[in-house]
Amino acid sequence: MHGRVKIKSTAQQEEEKRKEREKKLKIYVAARDACFSKRKEGVWDDEALQLTQQLLSSNPDFATLWNYRREILMHIEAVKDEDEVQKVYEAELSFLESCLKVNPKSYGSWHHRGWVSARLPRPDWARELSLCDRCLSLDDRNFHCWDYRRMVVKMSGVPVDQELSFTDRLIGSNFSNYSSWHYRSTLLPLLHPESPEPPSPCREPPHSSPPPSPQTHSHRVCEEQLLKEYELVQNAFFTDPNDQSAWFYYRWLLGRAEREEMISCVYVSRDEERVAVAFSRPVNAQSVGLLLVLDGQPQRVEWRSVHPRFKHSPVWYVPVVSHVPPADKRKWSELSVEKTSVLQSELQSCNQLQELEPLNKWCLLTIILLMRALDPLGYEKETLAHFQTLKEVDSMRSAYYSDLCSKFMIENTILKMEYAEVRVFSISDKKLTTLCHLDQLLLVTHINLSSNQLQRLPPQFAMLQCLEVLEADNNSIENLEGVYHLPKLEEVLLKNNKISTLAALQPLASCPKLKRLDLRGNPVTQTANVEAELAELLPSVTDLLL
């Protein structure tokens, strides 16, 4: 019938498309070659600007062309007056906008935009901010845009409170957004810093003080604001307890204070003629200029790490030749953070959520952390039960939970030891999978690790500088790396472990006072000639059980 609609066949359409593509490719290649030859000749004219624009608008990831373009622009900047330069750069910005529409995640376009914005004689930061906002409203996880935005904020000096409400807005539209939460965590300490000590009334008004920078400032937030943040983040994890971003932010809010760098313990032994120092954080004593003063006299000493593996370590010692003052001085570091009613009420709301969502791992983990912060010993039983549930609901990470649980058990045992004021550390049959906080056991003389699931005694074990007796029966220990240069160690009990080679016992040779060694139930005892080999390796041992 006359005038009826007909549709081109697929073959026809494809043929047309193919031709179209070919044509495009030809144009593209020709333009690219023209650009390259111009650049070679050092031509920086408008035509080159045109050509690169054509190419980049179809392929914004062509870094060489962006570079060429920058060369041209710098040339223009050198020869033209400010108004013209402004005009050229403004045109550049709108060109970039079209590139970003093609590919909002192009490295080249964003980088070039940053470059142009920084060189623009009269930048319009408000416009740049609104561009970022538009981009982020389309994809709130576009990290290129986040990066660019940070630059814009920095250059234009957007007030911190405005930025905080910006994160409010983004979190409001979608709270599954690490970028926003994290940005918040950097803004809050600036805007609502924790007041130093009791706030003095004569403090200068905040605006007259120099703008705080994140580097110099503590990462703590004042309590009033903290409460608001708790409320906000609770809304998020009650709405969707499976979303990690809120939980991570929550953990940041609850986070312990970073321990200040300080000497937590000094041990002076007259017998071994050595001084050992434990710090709250790993340090490099050789480079920080740690000074040993004896009887008012600074000593020229060389600090030694407890194990050659450690360049940074919390424990350092130095052999002292001259006389040493009497008596040991001991001081234990504080483990827990301040116990506030805030934490208690946080624990309550988490327990509430856990009742509704008994199998939510984030909730369980947070409850454990809160319990740790509040009363680690009092909640020990609940903590262990929650760890058990965690390992079941999140079996993929059961090893992680075991390690974490071990850490907490060790912390608890240290606390108990502190209360009892003894130098015996006993933590048997607690399913330990790893050892930590060994720096805090500097003064321990007797350690009992029997009936756990340990596989090794790590290099950190060498920090137990006062250790005399090591009990570690019924574990799965294969490696004794950390039993190294322990000056007082006399007795090592390793019944029923998995030590299979003599080489594994090599570190013991560095302990001069070792007398008693129990290796019963280890594969190594099956080795031929083991007794003679051991006698050669460990001549000091007089009481060997195989």
């Binding site: 006359h2 005038g3 007909k6 995640k105 538009r134 994809d139 979608n174 709270f175 009650f238 709405t239």
Partner: protein, 727 residues
């Protein structure tokens, strides 16, 4: 019409341009069937139409006038051996109880605040079918006669008693003349001598309100800006994963339309309007829910997506019971029952759950609510399908009807139709709107049902927020036992359905009484009208309209006392979505062409070639085959057909405004539905990295409708799809 005869043979003749009929037309045309699509009205979309304010006033007028029964012409001369005629009815009578009220001042008065006359004294009663009153109303409604009217007004103002008399007379007249029309109850009560007391506080309230800086928009302004309104007869929304959206995307008809997201879901509860948290972001941000409620709500919403044993145990029992047993608390129960499932307290659990699931499935596809609304009103949708039909050769005639069917006695099939001009047109199938089928021919199983509708033009949002451009869906549970649950949609001016500074509010419910009886109590509670007393903070109603419409959702497409190749499309139903009409259209299509694909994707304009067109390759657009008439010559321009048509009617001076409106239409930045294959169907998706929505997208990107000469003789008011191919 006499000048040009239509072709005498078609595959399908369709009478009525409602949604279902239009979809059927597009579907047939799309697979190569020859379609003739006619409508007796002067506008497209039948009861699905949208009107400008002035257009609506005309519509009101038409529904007050007695439609004189067309003398049934005898077309039996056209019959051949073994044939008989079935006459179609020409009086649909699907609209009743039309009542309009104006609560704002007639004129734009500067000294309004100090005027001793509160604005509400100018209230116009246009209710009832009393002939005299109707005449008067039509006068006040036509802008041309405004002068006359202002002359009339001082008299009214001078003598309040006279006004009262008028009301009395009116009611008397009504009770004598028309008994089947519902009387507006509040008006009736006024005549009981309570009027002075009842009027006084309202008057002072209105006056105190008119004093602040915000000046009330006058009736004259509404009329002047009338073209900014697109007032829908039916109030519906598109579920973003509903069958209409799917069809629009699948068929590429979506390229003719643009949409806005409904931005929030509200509900009326404890005497105030609250936002319903339904998306994840809403729940997070909600201030009215405790964290535990948040968790319970989210858990419920997540858990009900999958059908569980627990849910099955409640089959047949009320959804409310199921919700109660979930221990959600009153807040959540209300939200879930009334605003999310949008069901009643006795709806069975399985039904409640399935509508909850539908709601949830639709969330997040295009935004934070499950609904879309077409920019320029719902009347656009049927027209978009008509346009698709026209692009593939369908012929359109408005103000053109089918008078009777020619039926072969032996096969009981409709062989041909006789149009209103007396032309015999043969066809293989005939699809007809329900209203044109006389009751004798219909098989109706259930008693007739009605919808109660109200349209309000207000001066403020029902729940003011940071943005004044919110599109809100409001659920109002029954305000008293026996009252219907009301669905309310509040549209802002950026939907291009009302003038800036106003809101267009649609109320819909299943009728219990008349529209006025059903809905005015809700209006009084939520808005400030002369009848409301303590609504200081509510938006004022400037103008409102009540009417009833037949709810024909129970009607089957076939099985009537009609020939086997005649199919009936029902009119609008009361549900919020468009599922019913789309299902019906698809059913009809499948009955007739079971082998063919229903609305397959339309090809891109550049892939369409025209047979017999000398310069087919040069055709960029689709359908310039008609070689353009007057104004449609300018291919490539952003054309606004509707405005142009009006321009024709209203004269030269409007031209400037057309340009303005075009500019505005470019700024709407509505949602364009995209085919699913491109993967970017979810505009709201978090991973969507598409560039900022281009504001340059024209509303009409593809089809430049050529206007065929026959169409111009018809002088149809709307011609967005009025093209005739062929010959």
């Amino acid at each position: 019409m006499a000048a040009e005869d239509l072709p005498s043979e078609f595959d399908v003749v369709i009478l009525g341009t409602g949604l279902a009929e239009s979809v059927v037309a597009a579907a047939f045309s799309r697979v190569g069937q020859r379609v003739l699509h006619v409508d007796r009205r002067s506008y497209y979309a039948a009861n699905w139409a949208s009107f400008t304010f002035n257009g609506l006033l005309t519509w009101i007028q038409e529904h007050h006038e007695e439609s004189q029964p067309e003398e049934a012409q005898d077309w039996s001369s056209l019959l051949e051996e073994g044939e008989e005629l079935i006459y179609l009815s020409s009086d649909p009578a699907s609209i009743s109880n039309v009542q309009a009220f104006c609560f704002t001042s007639e004129e734009d008065e500067e000294e309004e605040a100090s005027s001793p006359d509160p604005p509400n004294t100018t209230e116009e009663e246009t209710g009832g079918a009393n002939e005299d009153v109707v005449k008067e109303t039509s006068e006040t409604e036509s802008a041309d006669l405004k002068e006359e009217e202002t002359k009339e007004k001082p008299e009214e103002r001078a003598d309040g008693a006279e006004k009262e008399q008028r009301f009395t007379a009116l009611n008397d007249g009504k009770s004598t003349v028309q008994t089947d029309v519902f009387r507006p109850i509040t008006q009736a009560s006024k005549t009981d001598g309570k009027e002075p007391g009842a009027d006084q506080p309202t008057a002072s309230a209105a006056q105190s309100q008119s004093e602040p800086a915000k000046k009330k928009i006058s009736y004259a302004q509404l009329v002047k800006e009338g073209r900014r309104f697109n007032i829908d007869l039916v109030s519906k929304l598109l579920y973003s994963r509903g069958s209409l959206v799917d069809l629009l995307i699948k068929s590429n008809v979506s390229r003719y339309a643009e949409f806005k997201n409904v931005t929030r879901i509200l509900t009326y509860r404890h005497g105030k309007v609250e936002q319903v948290p339904c998306s994840r972001a809403d729940v997070f941000a909600s201030r009215q829910l405790s964290v535990v409620e948040k968790r319970k709500l989210m858990r419920f919403l997540t858990s009900c997506v999958e059908e569980t044993e627990e849910q099955r145990a409640y089959n047949g029992r009320p959804y409310l019971e199921f919700l109660c047993d979930q221990q959600l608390g009153d807040n959540l129960q209300h939200f879930l029952l009334h605003s999310i499932a949008m069901v009643t307290e006795d709806t069975p659990t399985e039904e409640g759950l399935s509508s909850t699931r539908h709601f949830l499935r639709c969330l997040g596809r295009y935004g934070n609510t499950p609904f879309l609304f077409p920019v320029y009103g719902l009347g656009e949708i049927p027209q978009c399908f008509c346009r698709m039909c026209a692009v593939f050769g369908g012929i359109y005639c408005l103000r053109h009807s089918v008078s009777c069917l020619v039926v072969d006695k032996t096969t009981n099939r409709c062989k041909a139709v006789v149009d209103s001009q007396g032309q015999r047109i043969s066809c293989s199938h005939f699809v007809v709107e329900e209203g044109s089928v006389g009751t004798d021919w219909k098989m109706v199983t259930s008693p007739p049902r009605f919808l109660s509708r109200a349209v309000l033009i207000t001066d403020g949002s029902i729940l003011p927020s940071d943005s004044d451009q919110q599109v809100s869906m409001v659920t109002v549970p029954p305000i008293a036992a026996g009252c219907p649950a009301v669905k309310m949609v509040e549209l802002c001016s950026s939907t291009m359905t009302c003038m800036p500074g106003t809101y267009l509010v649609h109320l819909t419910c299943q009728s219990v009484g008349s529209a006025y009886e059903d809905l005015s109590p809700v209006v009084t509670k939520l808005f400030r009208t002369p009848e409301s007393h303590d609504q200081e903070n509510c938006p004022s109603v400037l103008w409102c309209l009540y009417f009833n419409m037949t709810d024909s959702s129970g009607l089957e497409v076939e099985g009537h006392h009609l020939p086997s190749n005649v199919f009936v499309c029902s009119g609008p139903d009361g549900s919020l979505g468009h599922e019913h009409a789309i299902k019906q259209a698809e059913l009809i299509f499948q009955k007739i062409l079971p082998e063919e694909d229903f609305c397959p994707p339309a090809p891109n304009p550049e892939d369409i070639i025209y047979d017999g067109d000398n310069n087919s390759s040069s055709m960029g657009g689709e359908e310039n085959g008609g070689a353009g008439e007057e104004e449609n010559d300018g291919a490539g321009e952003e054309e606004e057909e509707k405005k142009e048509v009006l321009e024709e009617n209203d004269g030269e001076e409007e031209k400037k405004e057309v340009v303005e409106e075009e500019e505005q239409s470019l700024q709407t930045e509505g949602i364009r539905l995209q085919p699913l294959e491109t993967g970017s169907g979810s505009v709201g998706g978090s991973d969507s990295c598409s560039p900022p929505a281009g504001s340059q997208i024209s509303r009409r990107d593809a089809v430049q409708t050529p206007e065929q000469h026959t169409a111009s003789t018809h002088n149809p008011q709307r011609e967005s799809a009025s093209c005739m191919m062929g010959n």
